[in-house]
């Protein structure tokens, strides 16, 4: 498939000169991208790069079966272009984002409205018009942006006939803080810290993607032991969050035993990350060129012991959940997303794997330590809340096993090597006019970072795609025809990031 493509191929966590990207006029570029998507590629990122003569559109696509990525760009232009969304819904949010950021209008886009831009008053996102269902029996329920629990802000607009949801529209942007625009001209001193807080619960995932991008731009790679440490931290992050999610799912159906136990075990996993680097969320561990903290043999042994206990505890807590018929009755057939829909929407991470799609960056596009050691991909059919919970449970088991194995066989060597500085007027360790792409399978799914440097090696454009950006539409679809009272359960089964989407 990828051998026939006219796109420029590149592997995960590598770079490509900007000039090597094929360039087509906008209409031709959209047609070429559509053809690749038809051939089984998947859209990882779609963004604009403004220039003097107009804005380039850039597409990063992934050929999962061929373990390769591909990139292409349009000639700079302004104004209108034929929409890709009309034929490929997975581009839907991307095209809205490009329209909002660069004013390029996708003709034929079915639902063109802002993604996260603030309104005229500058106080809240310009949500635009919501889709409305008319009829005497229809009522509209608006939830948020202020919620009853301690969660992030987002607005959900339901069109209901009685208890049945006919349509759900999700409006986000309340957490928009300019993470991407702040990166232009960078990296700055604060960039790494900002990247770590793109989605605070995915600190390791985003920091690893960022570090990989910088290493790819420098044409180097972190030392092996650093890659090992990053893999450990990434899997610990997955364990902590998946455990928390299972507990939250149990809590939503008022099943106390698992809910109470998982809340505690999540803390145990977070504390293991703290044992590794001193911070429960892994801040300050990953940095371009390697890692900031090493795991000495003594602490590795401690970690191994505590990990065994925590994994066994999780096994017990999850056992209660699966054994309870009342829980199963709530999870099964609730919020189903079907595999064709998931493919069309370009879902990633556990929600995609819960539809039976084998889609995991660690397996499809391995980089870093995952080229040397892999956990089996966790897949479950069905696409409902039960399947999403099951995928999380499978990943918990496999990541736990992976960690136990990896902790027993650490590689030797340094944990940090400064990025080399090539000989140029200003000593920057980044190739000029180069595009670098890094995908990382965070616990929510595929994190995509793309950096394009200018002639001085500074960031001309930095694009972050959090897995939530792909998956929010999946949640809206899962609610079709469901009871509105099941929304919190469906929402929890996706557990998407608001700030990762809003940037």
């Amino acid at each position: 498939m990828s051998s026939e493509t006219s796109f420029a191929l590149l592997a995960n966590a590598t770079s490509l000169p900007w000039a090597a990207l094929p360039e087509w006029p906008a209409a031709e570029f959209v047609r070429a991208t559509a053809a690749e998507l038809d051939r089984g590629a998947r859209l990882c990122a779609w963004f604009g790069v403004p220039g003097d003569a107009g804005t380039h559109l850039v597409a990063i696509i992934a050929f999962d079966a061929d373990n390769t990525l591909a990139a292409a760009r349009s000639a700079p232009f302004a104004g209108h272009y034929p929409s890709l969304t009309a034929t490929h819904p997975q581009a839907h949010l991307f095209e809205r984002e490009v329209w909002e950021q660069h004013g390029l209008v996708p003709d034929g886009h079915p639902w063109l409205k802002p993604v996260r831009r603030t309104d005229a008053a500058g106080t809240a996102p310009a949500n635009g018009e919501f889709f409305r269902v008319d009829g005497r029996e229809i009522h509209e329920v608006a939830v948020g942006p202020v919620h009853a629990g301690i969660i992030e802000p987002g607005h959900f607009r339901f069109q209901c006939a009685g208890e049945e949801v006919l349509h759900l529209e999700i409006a986000l942007g309340y957490q928009h803080r300019g993470a991407e625009t702040g990166l232009a001209g960078g990296p700055h001193r604060a960039t790494l810290s900002q990247i770590e807080t793109v989605a605070g619960d995915t600190t390791i995932g985003h920091a690893t993607a960022y570090a990989s991008v910088l290493e790819a731009l420098a044409g180097t790679e972190a030392p092996l032991r650093a890659q090992w440490l990053r893999a450990l931290a990434l899997e610990l992050e997955r364990l902590a969050n998946h455990t928390g999610d299972l507990g939250a799912l149990a809590n939503d159906v008022a099943f106390l035993p698992t809910s109470a136990a998982c809340g505690k075990i999540r803390g145990d996993f977070l504390n293991l990350t703290a044992l590794l680097c001193g911070n429960r969320f892994g801040r300050g561990l990953v940095r371009p060129g390697g890692c900031h903290h090493d795991l000495e043999p003594a602490r590795a042994t401690t970690m191994l012991e505590r990990l065994r206990v925590a994994v066994a505890d999780t096994e017990q807590a999850a056992g209660w959940l699966w054994d309870a018929a009342s829980v199963r009755a709530r999870f099964e057939n609730t919020g189903p997303v079907f595999a064709p829909q998931a493919t069309a929407l370009g879902l990633v991470g556990p929600p995609a794997r819960a539809c039976g799609l084998v889609r995991d960056v660690r397996y499809d596009h391995p980089a870093g330590w995952y080229r040397l050691a892999q956990a089996p991909v966790a897949v479950w059919p069905g696409g409902d809340v039960y399947a999403r919970a099951r995928v999380r449970w499978l990943e918990l088991q496999r990541s736990g096993q992976f960690l136990l194995e990896q902790l027993a066989t650490p590689p030797d060597g340094p944990i940090f090597e400064a990025l080399p500085a090539p000989a140029c007027p200003e000593p920057v360790s980044r190739a000029p006019d180069t595009l670098a792409v890094a995908l990382v399978e965070g616990w929510r799914g595929e994190i995509c970072h793309v950096a394009l440097t200018d002639s001085a090696g500074k960031f001309r454009r930095y694009k972050i795609t959090d897995p939530s950006f792909h998956n929010w539409t999946g949640l809206a679809l899962a609610l079709r025809g469901q009871a509105i009272s099941d929304f919190p359960l469906c929402n929890k089964s996706f557990n998407l990031s608001y700030c990762g989407h809003d940037l």
């Binding site: 329920v141 009853a148 629990g149 149990a250 159906v253 099943f255 106390l256 505690k264 609730t334 009272s485």
Partner: protein, 302 residues
Amino acid sequence: MIVFLEFVARLVGWLVLAPLLPGIINKVKAWVGGRRGPPVLQLYYDLARLWQKGVVLSTLVSPGFIAGPAVAWVAVLGAALLLPLGPVGAGLSFRGDVLLLIYLLALARFCTAWAAMETGSAFEGMGAAREVSYAVLAEAAIITAVLALCVHSGSVSLATMLNPAAGAGAVLLAAGLFAVLLAENCRVPFDDPNTHLELTMIHEVMILDHSGPPLAAILHGASIKLLLFATLLVEAVVPLGGLSRPAAAGVLAAGVLVVTVGVGLVESLLARLAFRRVPLLLTTAFLLCLFALLVAWKGGAA
């Protein structure tokens, strides 16, 4: 004078003891979950705190927003006074008082739903709709249970009705009434009193916009209702008539405690039902009470 004092003592007893039950349920839940949990007296603290707070009113509401909880609270308390306590009898007793009890509870529900609709909020309208639609089914069950007791005792006065015989009928009645208790008091598996998720709530969502003393009245009323149903359940199943006063009081208290702990255990070990399944369980409760009625009817004739 003695009668008056006894009436006051009864009133105070209901008012003071009722908030204990939610505390016990929460303690049981905490214990099963391996947590320490809030103090047993937490609801008392909450009521004291709420009583001192101001009231936030929407610009849309009519006086019904305040009147609703007040009327509901008085109605539930009135229903409680109608309930005889073993050999002590009821605060007020007459022929057909059981119907008044049922309708006072219905009035309380109507007032809560009315106050909820006052706000014009989509959530609260939704909650009110859910509350009354499930109440239709729960009421069918409780009326059948009352009928069973009527047929068994040949009376329509609570004082003589709540004097049951042991046997198959009592077991059926206990099961049916326990399900009604859980539904009427918004406990798991029908509702989740702990949830913060508006979209899944039934009862809780109706009182989201209440604050201060009206909210205190609602919470206190709910605890009285729980105590009322627990007492009714125990008396409908355990024959207290033949016992001496202290023994009857002891058995009643023990029975109520068992029911309360039972509610706590159900909440700890069961997930809540999907909404579409709630009618199934309530219909089951109705059928249990119906069979108890048949047993009382045919069993009595044999």
